[in-house]
Symmetry: D2
């Protein structure tokens, strides 16, 4: 009696198995044009078929069969197909030649240029669009690129294929097509287990740990979803609502802490943000996600005035090791003062830790504000992400993360980036165009020769 055609939830429970079954069937049912069951052609030939007349009439079935055949093939066969995408499915040479001739004949004709643009489109782009006709096609294409990315180093020729994937996905996963969803303890387990799996910053130990991040009144989690990848968050952020900007992460994750009422919070802390789909590398979601969550929280909880991260500093220790060995950024006094860092266990000894506090924060200020990588960019990848989004480096937190990993990658340092809606745009422009790093007075003060009146640091 139920009349809802639920094609909209293609990958519900039991899906993988079902998909495997379907695949088998799609291939078993392969027929030649005369309708006779026959062995299916190779992957590339199926690709050609999908681009042909027959692909117009039977696009869905052919796309399904090609997706199935690709996923059932062994790795060498799959790699071979990906390589073929790079050569056999590039632009149509004759069409390009004709279009080039037209451009040369009529130099300056915008029509001719635009016709050339069209003629030079690699044929694999249309192939990707047709593959998307298959049930689950979008997800299959994302997985296909994920595999391709693994081969990229060894197969530079695949770069062209990758660039078409990237172009297509940037269009298909445009933020306008994404849906922001609140993830909480009423979210289906099938999604929650992916949160556990994908969490990249502070690993989720088990379901109790997960619940502790989702269910209390002062915790939130939001993710972007794409309508075609129903149970797959593309990116998600975990938020703590607090009464002050936190300087260490452990209390936030404590299973025994006492929640506060959300209405009493003044601060929203983005303490973890994780991308989930390697196949969507290069498509930018984080920027949009943070800004949208700021909007949501402002609307729901007007008392929240401060939007801030509590972030790791993954590049600090490695950079500091190099900087202590040489270069101009650290002077000799500072180098000497940092020497105790090499003694294990310093962080647990109040005296030694106390003595290291100022030197380490000075080194950190230099790291963020003066150090540059060989492309002239801020060294820290997390810093580049948040500063590029228009955030400002608000505070350095000495011994913010004394886990083994925290000590190893950043000598325990954590930082807060502040998202101030009124300054995001200016910060972003200054960062993107003039490499200016927005930092608070409190951070700048740690520079060896701090000029506290200067707001921006130009390298």
């Amino acid at each position: 009696m139920t009349k809802i055609v639920q094609t909209s939830r293609p990958n519900r429970f039991g899906d993988l198995f079902e998909m495997l079954t379907d695949r088998g069937r799609a291939l078993l049912r392969w027929r030649d044009p005369a309708g006779q069951v026959t062995a299916p052609p190779g992957l590339s030939d199926m690709g050609e078929l999908l681009l042909s007349r027959r692909g117009e009439a039977s696009g869905v079935a052919l796309a399904r069969a090609l997706v199935a055949a690709f996923e059932e093939a062994d790795e060498p066969k799959r790699l071979e197909f990906l390589e073929t995408l790079g050569d056999r499915f590039g632009p149509d040479p004759k069409a390009v030649e004709r279009a080039l001739a037209a451009v040369q004949q009529d130099a300056g004709s915008v029509e001719a240029i635009e016709a050339l643009h069209t003629a030079a489109e690699p044929r694999r782009q249309e192939l990707f669009r047709r593959l998307n006709l298959a049930p689950g096609g979008t997800a299959a294409l994302v997985r296909m690129r994920e595999e391709l990315l693994r081969h990229l180093k060894d197969n530079p020729a695949l770069r062209r294929v990758d660039s078409d994937f990237a172009h297509l996905f940037a269009s298909w996963f445009n933020r306008g097509f994404l849906v922001l969803r609140h993830i909480d303890w009423n979210t289906p387990a099938a999604i929650l287990e992916k949160i556990i799996r994908y969490e990249a910053v502070h690993a989720i130990q088990n379901w109790d740990d997960l619940r502790n991040r989702l269910q209390p009144t002062d915790r939130r989690c939001y993710g972007f979803f794409h309508p075609q990848l129903v149970d797959e968050p593309l990116i998600f952020v975990e938020v703590a609502l607090t009464k002050a900007i936190p300087d260490t992460v452990a209390p936030l994750l404590d299973l025994n802490r006492k929640p506060i009422e959300a209405e009493r919070a003044s601060t929203a802390v983005f303490y973890s943000i994780s991308n989930t789909q390697r196949g969507l590398a290069g498509v930018s979601f984080g920027n949009f996600l943070i800004k949208q969550v700021v909007e949501e929280l402002k609307a729901e909880l007007p008392n929240i005035q401060t939007f801030v991260t509590l972030s790791p500093v993954p590049g600090f220790a490695a950079w500091l090791a190099r900087a202590r060995e040489g270069g101009e950024l650290l002077d000799d006094n500072l180098r000497a003062a940092l020497a105790p860092l090499d003694q294990p266990g310093w962080h647990a000894d109040p005296d030694r830790a106390g003595a290291l506090r100022e030197p380490l924060l000075t080194a950190a200020a230099i790291y963020f504000l003066r150090a540059r990588d060989n492309k002239g960019r801020a060294v820290d990848p997390v810093a580049r992400f948040h500063l590029g989004n228009g955030a400002c480096l608000e505070r350095l937190n000495f011994l913010g993360d004394v886990s083994a990993n925290g000590l190893k990658q950043s000598h325990g340092l954590m930082v807060n980036y502040l998202y101030d809606p009124n300054r995001i745009e200016a910060n972003h422009e200054a960062f993107a165009e003039r490499a200016e790093i927005a930092a608070s007075e409190a951070v700048r003060r740690h520079l060896p020769d701090a000029q506290t009146t200067t707001k921006k640091e130009k390298p």
Copy 2:
């Protein structure tokens, strides 16, 4: 602006906390009729108020306040209120007196009898109905009875209150108001954690164990829900789809087993059924649940022909111990043959186990078919449930459950009850009216003096 934050269910998350807060507020806001904030009255006085004129105008607020006050009160106060329900909120004596007089005056008048019925309704019934006006009132009443049940032994006077709860809940939780829902890996975690908590037959170890019972293609779980207890299954059943009637439970729960396609199954095995709400004791759901699930599965998977349980035998070992000590049911030969049961570890020794097989199955046949408790009923509670539903005892499974608990309660015995739609009604009537126990030929054959032509055993 895009408002599509699909908070999966915005008003539930953090509920308990919210409710506690609300309660505080409800009490803090207590006002006298003149609108002045004042200390709230005692629980019983609030009950009287709720039954008064003021309860008509402000029923929702008063009900909310009484629920809040009850749940915030300490245990002695709560017990006192439950006791007051028994005396102060019984039938209105004057109304009963008048109605009795009318009956005596006009003996045989149905009108008078029915008026007497109405007059003799305990006032707490209307109180319960008005308490139900509070948000979350239904759940609060179920919890209230749960508490009452704990005091019942020591307070026989509470039995009257309990009987009104039971009467009301039988009406409110009528099967016509329940909703059957499929519970799977897309079910909200808030419900799934209750499945873990409430599973009463084969404990669920963790979320992996849970997923293994929900997600594979050959597993199903169904529960009854009431619209007012949204996240609370009232009862649920776990089902395995198999190719044959299973005789042991371990392979069903094995995390490493290989699922089969649901379409290839011939048999649905109800291997666990759990009630969840102690406060709904006596309201019968299991019968309806099993029959509805049979209907659902028949419609979804026409290949499934056999509907069977794999059930524990919780009363067997205790009964056998008594029967071995004396009485007429076992003869001396059988007693002797059963002696090795007393040697620990027998089940793991093929020789000893082999020797015990027949004697134990004979004893089991006697247990099911001939033994009776002091009310003249079948001894085994699980047997009473399934036989009372119209099932038939299909098979005895020697060493079906060799877990510590299985050995302890039933020397490892498990049984299958068969639900044959065509025989359910006749089996039920025979069992209910004539205490006849439906059992297969295979089971009867184990009786010491089996007459295989007799289909039914009359004690």
Copy 3:
């Protein structure tokens, strides 16, 4: 692949037809205890069967069959069954006799009284509860009572049956089980067509008229729904958001009016409230609905401070006709001044209308504040509803409704009742206990000998 067992929406599209088909099947499949297909028994015998052992095992099937048989029977047969409910399905005489004897033996025993209450329960109550097991059983029972109500005048004996229906429905349709839903232009058409059909105050002409009441930003509609009557609003209220208390209804319903932004409204006007289920007569929803909607609107639109109705005065013209003929309420001057009412078309003539304004409003003030019906109650049924809810008579609107019906029933008079959350409780108590009518100063001033300092009018 869809695994949602949607038993929760039993009556989706095509339902009626399907139900009829099902019915046919249920009856065609009637089997005797031996399993032979046979002619189904009469309705009353099916009722007995449903209350028997067989009803325990096969309750759902038997309930379905009885519902089907009742709805397929012709009217005389149905009436006969309803009458049988009154005699054959009353209290069990023997059980009553025993319980009465116990009461007499042990006078004053509460246990005995309560046992008598249980024994005296008419058997039809259990029958109704079992009928509710049928799919669509709740709706079928509501229809059954609707039919019964039509026969009530001619069959006073049915009154007993009706009183059990009423008792059961008051419990099942307890406000705690109802769901408030916003009805708007995104509501399924199957529900909306019922809004058109059931609207009882200002008839909805067509779908454009309906949209004009639902879709604009300054219009709202809310209804109570019961989980078992999915597509059936039980009661609904139409609300206009305005900048002032309106005095006529026409502008509210005007298809060409310009909506205002909801955020700019100061006043919520309940201009129509309609019950829909005749079979639920006597179960009170309106009081709860209005108060809940007030809560919702306060939360959504904090600018709204005034909650008011624009109501018809259905009893005014009839009462006035009688009062003009005699009695003490009107004096001779007033009678004379009201004479032009008898001339058709007076309302369209500014002079005549102007002359009638004060006399008519005076008569209206008397009607509301002094007139009483033969039970000593306020004469106007709408007034009794709103005053009983704790509202206050805020304003009399001369020529508020000049439609033919408006002129006929109330000489064009409309009124506003004000729901002031702070005064609702006091108003209700004063009205219920002392028959005091809450009215504004502005209304009282129209009384012939108004003492404007008295707030309440005691008749």
Copy 4:
């Protein structure tokens, strides 16, 4: 507190108004980089801004503002913007020049060709993608193209812009992103009123007519929806389930006909298919829709074996008028026999109609099988659609539609196209590659010199 106001979809209702309000706000809040409120720039400058650095940081806000400004601008301003899209937002000339140079330098380099492809992408494509960031951006872009299409005839330069729209929409509205939904009487009214508005074949008179096409058990309606255009069906098809292939449309639409049970139908008749979004012209949905609905119906109702249309013949009368005037397709006998067509009312006179039957069907067979338009294609646009999808011309129905319009456009002729899943692919290829028209023996027999053994007609 219970918050279960189930506003059916809270953020949609009143949408248009809300959007207008939002627009106003977006523009009122325009700020210069220094944060000062200022007058917003012109549309093209806003476009440049959106493509700039600032667009990276504030894409959503800028996109929203540009969409708002465009929709608030007057028509000349909007047209001016569309024209600017054509010139100012074409490919970046310098980038193209560099890429062309690279191609010439390294002839045959695929990398260079592909880099040229990228360089030559019109900048408006990225602009469109960024506009899509705005809430409601996708819908706004579709409306923008709808407006552009109206200007296309007078502004051939807009053709380039249109081609980028078409390219983008073909990717965004790829069938893999569409959701098939059953439209029935439980569908929200907001969608249903669009069905009424958009129905293009047999106009829907009113809501009763609509219900008659959706609610009966033997009627179905399906549409494709895009996740970003929630309440807008992109295309929908109306289906009747029947016991035979129908030859006239009137009985299908009759309000008084008696429905049959869906399970008894052998035939699914697609009697109306309507595209709704002029802005999506050229993106093909119909082919996929019909095939998917065939799959759905086969799964739901296995008894249905025949999938067929009942279609108008919109080009027949006009073609016949020309063919009767001259040309080789009709011979003189046929011309003479067709003469009575010119007498009004012939269809209502059995004698005259009878005499015209054969000549008209012969002319129709010629029209479908032999006539070609000046591009060498089948003349009839509906025929081109269905034959292009792989359907076969199954039957000619004399006087299938005697409405005024039916007589005018096709002398009352209707036809059935048959979708035979086993022949769709072959039919499509034959039609697309060799212009062969698949037609049944029954149709071919009407040709003047029918050779019934030939299956295909090659022109």
